[in-house]
Amino acid sequence: MKVKLLINQRPRVVDVEPDEYLLDTLRRHDVLSVKRGCDAASCGVCTVLIDGKPTLSCSVLSARLEGKAITTVEGEREEVTRFYTYFGDEGADQCGFCNPGLALTAISMKRTFDNPSEDDIRRYIVANLCRCSGYVAQVRAIKRYLEESS
């Protein structure tokens, strides 16, 4: 079946199976920043923004997204570059597998919260798992990004 999506600001008509998930649709259309980790709604690496809201692309049927705006890091280049400056500065980056999902979650946080506390940050990113870091540097980087780039 055909579904009209706005992928990173570009209108696309994609052909999908009834049980195809957004993660597969995106990767099939060369949006490769979106990663597959658990494929079971438990790790957050597949996070994208759907109409601005962080959502697990592994668990949403593509066919339900008619007319929705899907944003990945490819569609947020400027903001992502800003975000990664803080990540680099704070040494929050290791293998990088979790970064796209985490970056989109942090960007959505910037657009949703006024002055989030460290607790707010930890709660918001709790399900963006990172197997390399201990989250300390990541939280520090997100805090600076939210404070200094707003």
């Binding site: 009834p18 049980d19 996070t47 962080p54 979650t105 709660r123 918001y124 399900a127 963006n128």
Partner: protein, 265 residues
């Protein structure tokens, strides 16, 4: 879950009719839980276009459409108001925003999950349900029934009463299921304790008679805690033993009762 076709019903009666046509048809909420199922179905009935995602605020109740996501609930002012934010406390402890932007209240109720952090709070708040065919039913009757409800859930309604609430989720990590969760809700007329993840489905117990009018609060709370442990069976599964759950219940029911009483003074 493997799905052969999707169906967009034209109204709730159509959804009900189609969902009953065959055992190979399944009603979809957000689909986050169903995705994990190894089943193959012929047809998934999607309720997306039936205007079931709204939250309506009436004088006497907050009415939540079955397709409302957990995240839309936790960010809604009327939900924040209920029991001094007890429902939001519980919702915020379910995985992350990425899942809560998908999972719906309809799927959370109809799944009747033993591990649920939402059902115990809704039970303590005396929520009721509206179905396409069965119409009105208290959540308590729904939870008590062993029968599978072959109906389409339309709404969850929470009475707007002055209430003070306490919710505690005990879990090994922030993303894990509860080993036990404890809800205490005090209204003008009633104090209810609900235990969830026992590991079976949530069960409630009214402790008003032990607390109201008591002179010695410590003694009254002790008797109330004992009555909860007598009335609500706790058990064992891979997450925790029965003895551990009992210890947790003793501690957190006591804390919850003291907290809802302190909040009042």
């Amino acid at each position: 879950m493997k799905i052969a076709s999707l169906y967009h019903p034209k109204d709730v009666n159509d959804a009900l009719r189609v969902s009953r046509e065959s055992k190979d048809t399944v009603v979809f909420g957000g689909g986050a839980w169903l995705k994990l199922s190894p089943r193959r179905v012929e047809r998934a009935v999607l309720l997306d276009t039936l205007n079931l995602a709204e939250i309506r605020v009436h004088d006497d109740a907050v009415v939540i459409g079955a397709m409302c996501t957990l995240r839309s609930m936790e960010t809604h002012e009327a939900i924040l108001d209920i029991g001094q934010g007890i429902l939001v406390d519980a919702l915020e402890q379910i995985m992350g925003v990425g899942l809560r932007n998908i999972a719906t209240i309809g799927g959370s109720v109809m799944g009747k999950y033993g591990f649920s952090d939402i059902l115990p709070v809704l039970l303590a708040l005396e929520a009721s349900l509206t179905f396409a065919e069965a119409k009105e039913m208290s959540l308590e009757s729904f939870m008590a029934s062993k029968k599978r409800m072959n109906d389409v859930l339309l709404e969850v309604s929470i009475p707007r009463k002055k209430a003070i609430g306490y919710f505690k989720k005990v879990a090994t990590t922030p993303l894990d299921f509860s080993l036990l969760n404890v809800t205490v809700v005090k209204t003008d007329t009633r104090i209810t304790v609900v235990l969830g993840s026992r590991p079976g489905g949530a069960m409630g117990h009214d402790v008003t008679e032990y607390i109201n009018g008591a002179n010695d609060i410590d003694k009254a709370v002790k008797r109330a805690v004992e009555s909860v442990l007598e009335a609500i069976p706790l058990g064992q599964n891979v997450r925790a033993t029965k003895a551990y759950r009992e210890q947790l219940a003793k501690t957190y029911v006591r804390r919850g009762l003291l907290e809802v009483m302190r909040d009042e003074s």
